[in-house]
Amino acid sequence: MFKTFLIKYGEIGIKGKNRYLFEDALVRQIRRALEPVDGEFQVYREQGRIYIDSDGLYDFEETVEALQRVFGIVGICPVMKVEDKGLEELGNDVIEFLSTVYDMKEQTFKVDTRRARKDYPIDSMEVNAYLGGRILDAFPGVSVDVHKPELMVHVEIREKIYIYSKIIPGPGGMPVGTNGKAMLLLSGGIDSPVAGYMISKRGVKLDATYFHAPPYTSERAKQKVVDLAKLVARYCGPIDLHVVNFTDIQLYIYDKCPHDELTIIMRRYMMKIAEHFANETKCLSLVTGESIGQVASQTMQSLAATNEVCTMPVFRPLIGFDKQDIVDIAQKIGTYETSILPFEDCCTIFVAKHPVTKPNRNAIKRSEQKLAEKIDELVQTAIETTETIRIE
């Protein structure tokens, strides 16, 4: 019965003259999200609303799921669209609609009519009153409550008449592509895919950088990161994933620097390399999954030490999150199961038993001077040999 969805969006409404840019982006993202769904869909804007029509057969559940991954959507309303055949016929349609969707027993309700077509002969208040009466007659237990109704029955009179009452929540946020692009440092863990999701929710497109350390990390570990990127791409759209071979840099640091500083120094080089690709691909920021104090390399001192090697802003959307909060989101967005597959990632392979938790930045810089001989060359080689994988 639902051939149409009405899409509600939130923050876009307040963007003034740029509003059309946001709406166009949202329409684009909706079309993209519906591409893999079975069925033919028409997505269009009309009088400050976005509608999706599907005249043929389509999978309702799958469609709703796909729409729930489009940032910018606040609510998805399945709509019954009927021809205007007079008020009495409209009453019948509303009753049919309610009896199919709800088990109308003792609910309170309110009818809210909007007359977008002003040449409709009866005004909204009258339509409300008439339909309210019809509903009261049809379902003996129900009553009207105009202040806090349990059911809000929306009727919109346009070329055709739209009846809806359910609002399925969307993910919120802003349409991807309206706030530029960022470079995500993607590991195989739980946090970084969530960080990508969070940033992307603010309308940001993503690229990603992954550090691969064969033979210490396996092909399967890399495959896992590709799989994670695919899961994140369901929300944020295509991702260019840069796979950097980090082994030689890591071993060189191991040879030259104190082992308890290994992770910090390593992460500083990761940031530098990620920033290089970010500049190359016109990203405006770096994104990591760090949260204060989670591990030794995420104390404030450590974050300061890794932060200072970049000039680009580094966003850490999970900075104040507890692990469990992050896990909850990972489960919600479907990345958790993949993240916990037991493959080693390059941050843990040589990790010291007691890594520094309060690195002294001057000491770190002194240690890095020991790398002077070869490090630039190694970084250059790593950049040149990086493999870029397009994740759709």
């Binding site: 064969p214 033979p215 392979i349 040589f350």
Partner: protein, 385 residues
Amino acid sequence: MEAYLDNSATTRCLESVKDIVVKTMMEDYGNPSSRHRKGVEAERYLKEARETIAATMKVSEKEIFFTSGGTESNNWALIGAALANRRAGNHIITSAIEHAAVIQPMMYLEKLGFCVTYLPVDGQGHVSLEDLKAALCQETILVSIMYVNNEMGAVEPIEEIGKIVKGYRPDILFHVDAIQAYGKYRIYPKRLGIDLLSVSGHKIHGPKGTGFLFVKEKTKIRPLILGGGQQRGMRSGTDNVPGIAGLGVAAGEAYQNFDKKVGHMYELKHRMSKGLCKLPEVTLNSDDGESSAPHIVSASFRGVRSEVLLHALEDRGIYVSSGSACSSNKKLPVSTVLKEIHLERELLETTLRFSFCEQTTVEEIDYCLEALGELLPVLRRYTRH
């Protein structure tokens, strides 16, 4: 250069196997259960495969039942036999170093109320016959022991076990998981007192998803897969004609020029074992000699995690397993068999398995040894602190 030294995980199909698989997929694709000519044609392939396989073990073709592979054969043999003989008793004996495809069904049977004894093994991975004798009791209905251990190539004393079991009481069923042994040993179930024997196709250059269970005539066993009544109602499901035809060809080939092939594999094993012993801090877990399987060498490399060494070898085109490939996906891939033989804790996670087939060359072995010689010192330099 490439060296595929993971033949205990799986093998490459033979050309002749591929040809018959393609033929039965594209030309003679009938369903053996169909009444028409296409069905009869297809049935001929089953008959031929059954005859070939039966001949390799000197058993009747009526005693061969096709399955989807080693795991199904083991599951069926154990669960099917235990359930069919429940009235005679509820005690089952196996070893502690069996493959998961035996251990898991055993644990399932325990949940159903059966009592399972897991025999320990010695430093060479052999079960002790004294332990077996002590474990047998009036309630015992089934004994299941593997022929060749998949991780270290140890060969169990099947003939003696058969004698002890049948000597204790002839109606105790004896199942042998011969998945790593078939094609490497001449196995004659009737002489060995074996009632049930599991074999997998893809370990002998046949297709994956194929295998069989030998079931001695008059053995009490229940079918696990019910349906259209194929294979005399013992294993329903449309016969996998391409797979079975391929398995038949592979089984036949396995016993052609048998002694020469086995001799070649023993030479490879010796060369590999000798080469490994020359490398510093390497412990050989498998026996170098004819007392263990011809195609498996297990070694531990002190101070080098097997995962890392495996990937470093892979980088040079050398493919091996850490522990057993089937158990590598678990969270803690610590091998039971290696634990059972009391390998030092430190060595457990540093163990690789090299496994050969008759097509493996001396050059591949030498290439692998050379690579190990170069990689080990480098990998030992970089470790976790």
